[in-house]
Symmetry: C2
């Protein structure tokens, strides 16, 4: 057997703790697979009680991250701290020391991927991040390696389990967002501060990584138009259903040849699209490539065990590079052509979509005509309308599906419509995927 | 740039021709990705007219396979001839010459994988076969690398596009098998001799490969119980629908801890299972791993371009090993622990499933009682029955869903039931997935 491969693990939270458990419990299986002993050599956290909880051997646990980062015995550094600092500093330090790195830190890679990837390339070490997007779903390696011969023309992803769980519940039970969010928090599917998830920022982080893998260039996170699901009402979900759609929070990448589009927002997904069947805490990425056609990858997008599976797969891959003597074999984004330049994104104003509108209008004759006139004036044509009967007092919903239109025209039209005296509330807009 | 990587391609049929086109048309993209020139150096076929059709450069085309196999300039041999011989001989020869090998030849790997993999390990070259199962779906690499930390406890696959196309059509249109098969042949979704597909043998080949990747050991192809879809009638599809199921041809791997089960047969799949939505020519593999949980990989399982995508992904991976100086980095099945021993499979008689039965019985009182008595005598309990009204003369169908039962008991019971004087035709049995 070749020399043992030694892993240093930073962070023993939900996912990091799962990685520790996997490396300890499955040591024999992993070592047999690798043909070399794979050892959890050091595990760092500030909570010493975790050492026993996780069944770590004597001497493995330490509170001293620096000692692990500087230990030349550590071959692979697994960063499971999360957040930007000190994770960024620690990873750069590990790279500088010539260690291979595995991380699940999407926020960090979305913000500082370019810097970290450049450092890894320069030092010729590998950085693996399968667990950063889609939990246990092997989508990073699919985009990076298996589909490498393709130009990836589009990706549509359901990449946040919290949002998908909430939307699935709202769809099944008709309850409002706030109520379902509270349930999700109780069940452990949403954080105490859920804003990173429900505002779409977590999905935007993952989309930044998907876009980088698909195009070889990292976008600026700030350039990704991002909308969450907090505005979505059961009424919209119900009307979408009447039009034959489900409502999902999507990460959207369009790379048809012109400027690349990347955006995150709730979207209407046709009920017979595979993504419409991705329910509850599951995630999926729907990929279109110019040779492969359509591929869908589906699985658990979060959670201790699925994420640990992905991290351990990365660790095995990095370890194999070490036993085969080819550390740094794969550039961070797969392509050797990565030039470190930023991926320019088209502004949202230029997007072409179909739209769902829910107008809230006085229940008076002529309202639909007034709305249609404004839309027509902006070149937006209507595909379908649902106008509910006059069962209640007060304003009523008028729901509409458009043909393809440009975002800028839509925004201008809605501004005009919302200023009409017959319109009682700001209009709800959801784009169609 | 490191030295150029030279590919020798054997066979320019549907898939081989697609690989040639991809390597020629996308040469710049692939070379940039790799950081080294990737050249289609030689392409072998017996039909010289293909050289021009495929736009091959002067000197690339040859009819002389031996010249290519013996050419030390060829780094990677891509075998796209199909069939057992001479493909087996050519691959062994390429391995002996120290070339890396990519193949899509499932029949060959299912029959002679052990021999070929052993040769590759011994000579320390890599053999890649992503395209052998599931066309463009990156499932081989998922099982081999990404999910390597898991014990794969189960795989359920729809792995034959022809059968899935036929069953989807029969489900949508209610037409009989023979008629839909003829349509499929006309549309190019079925071969002139469709037996390899519709008898389930192609699926068994693929299951043998999936089982090897999931367990590290190859089963004997002859040990895989294999049934095709030729017996399936629109009536069964309709009754299955009434019970809440679709009928799919499945590759089934069960690896729960005891003896491994692997079998191919039509099966009832619950309508809300993701596999039930895999329609037409699409393929999918549903994987269960002890850490990752459930993963579904879905895409085009056949066809020139998707399969070429998978082969080219393999070629890039092999080429990267060469540029990084680590040829043979990954053992053929991923695991270094592959011992060349055969994977023992449980006999079908021991299988535990739920069953769908369609009895064809005289329309007489007491028939259901007689059938139930026999089933009860063999310890088989009934979950649901549909007995259609007496609208026609002659025998009538009685359809039944059982609770879990053992195959041996079921076979014995059906033998007894089919001998009852009230039973007009042999009973139809479909297992529930």
């Amino acid at each position: 057997m070749p020399k043992a491969i030694k892993v240093g693990l930073l962070g023993l939270g939900t996912v990091g703790g799962g990685v520790a458990q996997l490396l300890v419990q499955e040591k024999q299986r992993l070592s047999a697979y690798l043909g070399a002993e794979l050892i959890l050599y050091r595990a760092v956290d500030l909570r010493p009680e975790l050492a026993q909880e996780l069944g770590l051997a004597e001497g493995v646990f330490t509170t001293d991250a620096q000692a692990v980062l500087n230990d030349p015995e550590v071959d692979i550094l697994v960063e499971m701290i999360g957040g930007l600092e000190p994770a960024r500093r620690f990873i750069l330090q590990a790279i500088a020391q010539g260690k291979q790195v595995a991380t699940a830190n999407k926020a960090l890679l979305a913000a500082h991927g370019a810097e970290i990837f450049a450092a890894a390339r320069e030092r010729r070490v590998s950085i693996a991040f399968e667990a950063s997007v889609g939990g246990g779903i092997p989508l990073v390696r699919a985009l990076r390696d298996s589909l490498a011969a393709n130009r990836i023309t589009s990706c549509l992803g359901i990449l946040n389990g919290t949002c998908n769980f909430i939307l699935s519940r709202m769809t099944a039970g008709g309850e409002p967002f706030a109520q379902v969010l509270a349930q999700a928090q109780e069940m452990g599917y949403a954080e105490a501060d859920p804003s990173m998830d429900v505002e779409g920022r977590d999905t935007a982080h993952k989309l930044a990584i998907v876009a980088a893998l698909a195009t070889g260039r990292q976008p600026n996170l700030a350039d990704i138009p991002t909308e969450g699901i907090t505005r979505i009402t059961p009424l919209d979900i119900q009307f979408a259903g009447e039009f034959g759609f489900k409502v999902k929070l999507l990460a959207i990448l369009n790379n048809q040849g012109g400027t690349v589009e990347a955006r995150v927002h709730p979207a209407l997904v046709a009920q017979d699209h595979l993504l419409a069947s991705v329910d509850g805490p599951f995630n999926a990425l729907h990929i279109d490539g110019d040779w492969v056609g359509q591929v869908l990858l589906h699985g658990r997008g979060a959670g201790r065990r699925p994420t640990a599976s992905a991290v351990a797969g990365d660790v095995l891959d990095l370890a194999r590079d070490l036993t085969a003597g080819c550390a740094g074999r794969v550039p961070p984004l797969g392509t050797a052509a990565q030039d470190g330049r930023v991926l320019p994104l088209a502004p949202l104003q230029e997007a072409l979509c179909r739209y769902y509108f829910r107008f809230t209008a006085q229940d008076r004759p002529g309202v639909l005509a007034a709305i249609s006139r404004v839309l027509g004036g902006h070149g937006i044509s209507i595909q379908a309308v649902i106008q509910k009967g006059r069962h209640q007092a007060g304003p009523v919903p008028i729901v509409m599906l458009t043909h393809q239109a440009q975002e800028a025209a839509v925004q201008a039209a809605l501004k005009e419509i919302d200023a009409l005296p017959v319109i009682a509330e700001p209009t709800m807009l959801i784009r169609v995927a």
